[in-house]
Symmetry: D2
Subunit: 390 residues, 4 copies
């Protein structure tokens, strides 16, 4: 298994990072993911917008002094002038800074790996899409859950017709960590996520709802048409939603429900997807990611295991180790990076961006922002139905 | 444990049954439930509206020939005239016949155990409520899932404040048995449930949605105010909904989602309730009924077991056997019957109906019909929000 | 499903009971089991060897005064003289009284339902076997776990060759309720089970080990040849084993392990059986009894559900309700009773005892006593290998 | 969480590898593990004893041509002469080559990371222990399951007295991948593991039994005194055991069972440990490694999650990401590497080897070999009891 991943040849791609300095969570995840398959070497960073922290963070990571930046604009400009300048940048800042950073690097022809939601407005997302296309820059969005092998297996089974026409999609992303007013305790992760000026208009719908929304579409291939969203801020004083109930209608008649919550005590990172078709059904949970449960219409439920006897090529391509040896979150995240590497190497050779990887990109970013906007708009209209923009 | 149930003294209550003849599923369940705790003796029946089947069914059950009826009206009249006439009747017909049967027996002062949904219209439900009250007749509705010990445990924990103020309720009742057009194959259970003239206006929302709706209210004590329901008949040609997505708003600000489906392949009888409060959360599944999962806001998830060290009085009262010896569906159903017996014996002594049992009654029946009506009305208005009648 | 059970015709068999008075656990279980399918009517009892308790217990159960006995010998004699005397007796006393009681009733030609282990010595077991045969009396042993539908399914799959030749059997029966010195607290259930004069030579191996041993043989059809058993009494002062580690060798070369414990904190009634053959494997757990997990050698693990699409005739015959509606311990116990009824009715018509039921009998009782004896003998010889008597 | 791991400073340790060339499984695992936390840089290798494969493997990994070796003796000698020579070597060959390789590098004062079982004889293991001590070389054994955070949590809970005195240990390591004669199909992994000349005297007991044995001791701190082992080669023609049933006796009176199998269809990598003490019990499974189930003697079972509210310092030190984001096999393996780095850096500063890491070492290697030897000896004596050498 995992021939695709194992076959990675040297040399590694030169990687820069914007955000992800000391105290950040996701920056470290990106670095471990970039390292796992040995496709990237971190050589430059604008790791914080605070000069002291940017410097300390860069030193801790062993960056050369002249490649530790405070300003990402300066980093983009200077790296583009170096012979050994970065080939790709990871943008892992809070949401509101994604757009400006991405814009600066695309201008320099540097490939992009960016956290979601990609921007705070649809116009910005559209603008990035146009820029990336015209600059022939690869734009990878870290909808990392698409990097789990059994998510690929699910997607392949839907594509292969094993479920028949999809009728119902049940997606949920439940967490409990914001069930109390954590943002007042100095917890950095809670602070920016509950602050509209940094997180954007969506609270839980932006932070985790976009993942659930993306996963549903990624696996089923369904296009969302309209939704009704009932958002709440259950924790007193909170300015963004911490719970959302959403009904979905997809093109072609499938229906869905999405529940997203950060006040759901008992859930840690409870992303779950269930898909029901005419011929079968699938059930997958992020916290138990090596298993995919499949029920054919007239048979017993089967537990398909990663690298096991019924796991096909789509999952094998991003598996590293045998069945029964659990791969987790970092491996899934790393698969996004490794596919990004393949995409970038292809782009460097002038290949069209369409290829054999299934990594989320700027189009998914646009759809995610459209989802957040639709949720907020629906909620402001009494949780009634609104259409998503495309 | 189970002192309440174990202490049942003779003699047994004389029971009649309307419906539940050969070929019916739920009639046999009622009889086993009635038998388990030895509180009832079946002595009369109008088991079918078809004379032949009524006779054969009665003989098979060993009823005396003069107490096998074809007409429930006749049964009500004649039994009321006997010294050894029935004290209570179980009404287990398809939904559309509940009202007339209940009316006939209440008129004779005979206590009622009735399947849900109680009637097909709100007016009928209201009428039965008034009649039962004025006749001082006990009216028990077999929302049988309320008879599971761990449902009682959950209810007691909410009442005891262990969850704090409830914020979110997630209820689902998923089945897959109608994912194909079973009603055309001669399957009696599928036929009447998909026929508006017998099942009423609700398909899955009536048959199983009422259970999910009731369970949510039973455990949390929350009063539903409004809902938005998106109903589908995914199987071509089906006249009633086989899938429903419902968003709920409860008095006081709690929100809920209910998913009910009979096309959800992979689910057999997948009733699940999850409740999230400020201080803790609960998770219970009908298919694994002896466990209740509880997470306090700052602690690990705990598995509370029926008759185990953290199961309290409310569950112990309806437990029969020690922890680890699973009680199932029939035991839960039997607990409804045993509580009905207690209620009836109390009524026979002239006690007020308020007592220490927690058995669902005609009020719950009214609410269930209101739920169905609201779902259908919302759906016909584009799945927009409507208020429930009370 | 469940036609066999549903088809039970009146009149009911007249049942007596020895033991099972107030304070007993298993007596109530037998009565509920006897009642569930309406095959038996309890009409007589020697419910306690203490006169007061025998009387009070009989009254509470509504027995006629002249059929409440203190002495089982008297009961056997007098009931045999009545035209309406009992046809079958349930013996639910502590172990040491099984033999004398069984002997008394067999002498009168009364059929026997008896708890396990059947006797405290092999000679007694052999004697009962001979007596029952010569008196043409049905002798049913309540190895109740054989009454679970999915145990029947497992047995049928082994018999049908779906596992191929069996290689390995892993059985365990773990409980935690005796992890402290409960027998000193007045707990009746703990007292007699830890007292060699009442329980016999085996503690956990007798009380629960016999169940695990029987289940392994019942499902696989394998004949145990020898074993090595390492017994412990971990709780200070306890006189019988509360934990046993046993290695098994079966005829034909299969090997097994049995773990039995009553000091295994965290387990309530943790009976589990796993069987591995050349072509597939099975996994079943008593606490989750409606599921049987099957893995074919080259495929994914499948969850076979009671009354589900892959459950065959053997399980259907003792199922009462549809898939997803859990049947539990009492239903499984009741199936033993219902099969006993079929056996007795057959015997009453002069049919040979061989028939289509799969209910454990006196042969299984003998094997169970041989198992206990072998465990104790092996342990006394340094936990070395000994052969089982047959 | 994970401060220990996050704080790793540059520069990285220079790493060599013996074995692990193309076609090997575990070599790639070691490299990913070494990379994840950025503590090591692979700079030299004798990746195969076949010259062509050694060269191709080294090139694929980007090693400098002069640091690709065919002979590990040459590698040890030449690397020791370089200023930039390797500081540590990973030995990932089949078992029979561990000793000679380890000896060669210890002689040069190069630190060792070695796969298990450490050697094929006790004398060799003893010799390595003496050599490592005298050369002040760190010797880390990749009992990688000790690198799972929840294994550390379990160990800390036992050490902290939360279970009281341990009574019973149940360990099992079940796999099904050798249930058929895979070694005849050209499968490299199956070939050497079933060949006594390469794998040593133990089949499943050596390959996976040593892991189960080590894990039991690692978590409980118990010292094994004697065992009885019944080994089988169920697959016709197989020369080493593929199933083993083992009863254990530990110093102080605790008892254990170990089941190890490679013919257990349905298990992929089923390592499970359950520990029962006077005050509580623990349950952990490798395939679901982020959870540890704990039951206190008088309470409900609790699910302790990695990085969750009840996970303590011992697990937090080797956690990288928040609760609910599953860490898997590679992360656990990487923790062994990161602790090895800490140990080596300490040794380089002249610190005593005793420190705050809990990484398995040469002593564990000796015990593992003693375990294999005892199993084989017991089995050859009729599966009777033998003492382990220490």
């Amino acid at each position: 298994m995992g021939d695709f991943i194992a076959a990675a040849p040297p040399p590694r791609l030169r990687l820069g990072m914007v955000g992800g300095g000391q105290g950040a969570f996701i920056g470290g995840v990106h670095r471990m993911a970039a390292r796992l398959d040995n496709e990237f070497e971190l050589v430059a960073g604008a790791l914080s917008s605070t000069a002291d922290r940017a410097l300390a963070s860069g030193q801790e990571l062993g960056l050369a002094p002249d490649r530790i930046y405070v300003s990402f604009e300066e980093m983009a400009r200077k790296e583009a002038q170096r012979d050994d300048g970065i080939e790709v940048v990871s943008i892992v800042t809070p949401n509101h800074m994604h757009f400006a950073a991405a814009e600066a690097f695309i201008r320099q022809g540097i490939h992009i790996i960016c956290d979601k939601p990609v921007t705070n407005t649809l116009n910005e997302a559209r603008r990035l899409k146009e820029m990336a296309a015209s600059a022939r820059v690869a734009f990878v969005l870290t909808h990392n859950y698409a990097g789990y092998p059994m998510v690929r297996q699910a997607r392949a089974m839907v594509q292969g017709g094993e479920l028949g026409t999809i009728r119902v999609v049940q997606a949920e992303y439940a967490q409990g960590w914001l069930s109390q007013r954590l943002e007042d305790t100095g917890a950095k992760q809670a602070e920016w996520r509950t602050d509209p000026s940094r997180a954007g208009a969506g609270g839980s719908v932006g932070d985790i709802g976009t993942h659930a929304f993306h996963l549903a579409g990624y696996v089923t291939g369904l296009q969302a048409e309209s939704l009704a969203a009932d958002l709440d801020s259950f924790v007193p004083g909170r300015r963004l939603d911490d719970n959302a109930h959403i009904m979905m209608r997809y093109a072609g008649g499938a229906k869905g429900m999405i529940w997203t919550s950060q006040v759901a005590i008992g859930h840690e990172n409870g992303l779950r997807l269930r898909v029901y078709g005419e011929k079968g059904a699938l059930n997958w949970a992020q916290e138990d990611p090596n298993y995919l449960w499949f029920t054919p219409v007239d048979g017993s439920t089967r537990r398909i295991t990663r690298a096991g006897p019924e796991a096909g090529e789509a999952s094998a391509r991003i598996s590293r180790i045998p069945a029964g040896h659990p791969e987790g979150y970092l491996e899934g995240f790393a698969s996004i990076y490794s596919e990004a590497a393949r995409l970038i190497r292809g782009a460097q050779k002038g290949e069209a961006t369409a290829n054999d990887v299934s990594v989320p990109g700027i189009d998914d970013g646009f759809e995610g922002v459209a989802f957040i906007k639709a949720c907020v708009r629906s909620n402001s209209q009494g949780a009634n139905w609104v259409r998503l923009e495309h």
